[in-house]
Amino acid sequence: MTLRSGQSPRPGNDPPFRARWQPLRVGAVAGRWSLVAGLLSGALCAVVAAQEGTIGGYPPDEALELGERMYREGLLPSGEPMRAFVSEDIEVDGTMFSCESCHLRSGMGSIEGTVITYPTCGSWLFKPLQGAEMKPLSQERVPDRLDPPPFRPSYTASTLSRAIRLGRDPNGRTLNYVMPRYSLSSADTEVLIHYPKNLSAEFSPGVDDTTLRFATVVSHDVDPEDREAMVATLEAHVRDHNSQSRHEERRARGGPFYKEEKYAPYRRYALSVWQLDGAPETWGDQLEAHYREEPVFALLGGIATGEWAPIHEFCERNRIPNLFPLTEYPVISDTDWYTLYLDKGHYKEGETAARYIRRSDAIPVDAPVVQVFRDEPSARMCVRGFADARSKMRLTAAGEVELGADDAADAQLWRRLAEEHPGAVFALWLGEDILTMLGELSSADPPPPAVFVSASLVGDGLGSLAKEARPFTYITHSASIPADEERTRLAVKRWLQARKVPEINFDLQSKMYFLGWTLAGMVKMMRDDFYRDYFFDIADMMRDQYYSIAVYPRLSFGPGQRYASKGCYVVQLTEDGTLEKVSNWVVH
């Protein structure tokens, strides 16, 4: 890693982001100490390696995997949880939290409230932390005696072991009490240290001295207008960034030292469009081929018909972040990490309907529930979200009625459903054709306590919902109500106009507007620590967003949270045809 000019803590510098702790660095002194400490550390490691040829008794590759498990899952090589004390006398084990909890996946550390967690990756641990690093020209301008004193020397295997087990830094200072003091054998400590030594040790692919490379994925069968809307909006962001309105490259090259360092991390963006052809089963290989040809730092947005799984799996496999793809078919996972979705798509509508049924006072809690759908991917996602939510709430599974492709959603069907399932709540994951027929259900005896339909499946035809059915028809609506967001919507429209980007698909373009706005902050916070994991660690630290996104009332983020929109309204259509919210944005 090329050390660049000093990086000072900048709390609150970027409104949407948490500042990360960064010490100031001084190059000249840092270089000398780094060399000495590096030689000592290297010599020590060499002696150990020469003696054993292993790390903690394991071959290096295995030790790396075991070290990663210790760092991320808190499990010893034996499989037992690591044990430690925090706050002096509180015993904890690795299944409660691990090194990754505070130092994050990238090892770059974090700031939370009053607690600063220092970087623990190899590129930071094994060099001394000093004052601001300056280029030779700047150094000539400032006498050596004015160099600030070192904050701490480089860690060695020995001092790092002491920090992990006794909570003391190389200066002998006591680390914060929230740093666990681990009970580890020497061999296990050696294995643990081996992991951060290799963590974020080199820049991720897709970045060089001048350029940060991104790609966006488009499947061949996407509506050309949607493709154009997404790509044009992303490209407008790229143009904005590359316009160097703050003269970044010039200031990095020849400004006073504090501007050199400020602008040194600047990289131009390059954006490629990776088109995927043929069947989704072949997309994985196509993505690998694109990536071999052109390694990128991250994927931005992306749009495809059908499931996002092939792209999602490619990103997991290669540990490539994918920021805000445009899909109604995300992979639903609590553990996958490398795709940050805007929302859960259709799945969220099913999930919300199930939760609303439980929470609403207007719906009998013991009423039977029946899902009606056709074998279509969008309906299947709703059904799955609904079923999963009921399972998580430990409620009995809902009944399911699958209609054939030719089965008409007509009056006869609804009469049959009402007769076969008296008093049932219906979740009708069907298209617009059901709306005019819903009135038939109101004449059932007794009428259904509630019927749920999806705004995204029904589309623009909500206004044709029979008036008799409106009192018992609940509509899942996973976006903000347009009338609530007029000001934000106007901001996006003006932004597009100013950049001469035609408004083609507002929903889609407003999401890409938000992506670019977010990306600017993330890249700025990343500074010259170009590690993919850190890129998403930064996203995880983002503050909740509500004024820069037009199509959701609120987006929120958090460590490991991979669906930014947590909500979905339940609305009803009033007599005069307006949508009335009957739930909060988030329904538990």
């Binding site: 000093g6 000072s8 948490r18 010490p23 100031l24 925090v86 706050s87 002096e88 006398d89 509180i90 015993e91 904890v92 299944t95 409660m96 939290f97 909890s101 505070c102 994050l104 974090s110 700031i111 939370e112 409230g113 009053t114 607690v115 600063i116 967690t117 004052g131 601001a132 301008r141 400032v142 004015l146 600030p148 004193p149 904050f151 200072r173 006591t174 680390l175 914060n176 009490y177 929230v178 006073p256 504090y258 939760r355 439980r358 709430m393 630290m541 503050r543 909740d544 609120r554 929120s556 958090g558 460590p559 490991g560 949270q561 947590k566 909500g567 909060n584 944005w585 988030v586 538990h588």
Partner: protein
């Protein structure tokens, strides 16, 4: 840039470094780990949801005849919450079968993400037993609760390590700001419970 301005700039940087890198109060052996204050809390009349998905009358939950601990955490928190929760866990471990002597309440400050299932998963991770409840609710209600405890933060990543302890005898509240040891928490519990027991004696 003149030489004078260069020197001033570097001296300013040095001063900033001294400030930034000075050991924080919590990081020094001889400094306080936490501060303790008596505070007034007027709980809002809100209904929250617990880890089982059941609704909870928050005022009623606090009006207990046993000491109540309240902290503000969230399920995906990286640094502060795990330590606070480990403290709760240690209280229950030390009390053993007497753990119902105290009501431990955690309140999420990330109600968008933390539903009952997330709360349950979190409690399981910390081996929580009966007597420790984790509550969520609407954003508005959670904000109202945070404000009542003067613990409101607009951004969850800015939250502070706070534990509030209510003595059932006189409805007094103690606020611990920082990271208390398990022994400190037990002492606070005994104090709150002792006051309650003393009050019962007087009443008799």
């Amino acid at each position: 840039m003149s030489r004078f301005r260069q020197v001033v700039t570097v001296l300013s940087l040095s001063a900033a470094l001294t400030t930034i890198f000075a050991p924080s109060p919590a990081a020094a052996d001889d400094k306080q780990r936490f501060t303790r204050d008596e505070v007034t809390v007027v709980p809002p009349a809100v209904t929250l949801i617990d880890q089982n998905g059941d609704t909870v009358d928050f005022e009623a939950a606090l009006s207990s005849d046993r000491p109540v601990f309240v902290d503000f955490i969230f399920a995906t928190c990286t640094t502060i919450c795990p330590v606070l929760s480990a403290g709760y866990s240690s209280i229950q471990r030390k009390l053993g079968e007497d753990r119902e002597r105290v009501h431990l309440i955690s309140i999420t400050i990330d109600p968008e993400h933390d539903g009952p299932e997330e709360l349950t998963g979190y409690l399981e991770r910390y081996r929580a037993q009966s007597g420790w409840d984790f509550l969520t609710g609407t954003r508005q209600d959670i904000d109202a609760v945070m404000r009542a405890f003067d613990a409101f933060v607009p951004d969850k990543m800015s939250h502070k390590p706070l534990i509030f302890i209510r003595s059932p005898q006189d409805d007094s509240w103690v606020r611990l700001y920082g990271f208390a040891r398990s022994s400190d928490l037990m002492a606070e519990l005994e104090r709150a419970a002792g006051e309650a027991e003393a009050g019962e004696e007087v009443a008799r």
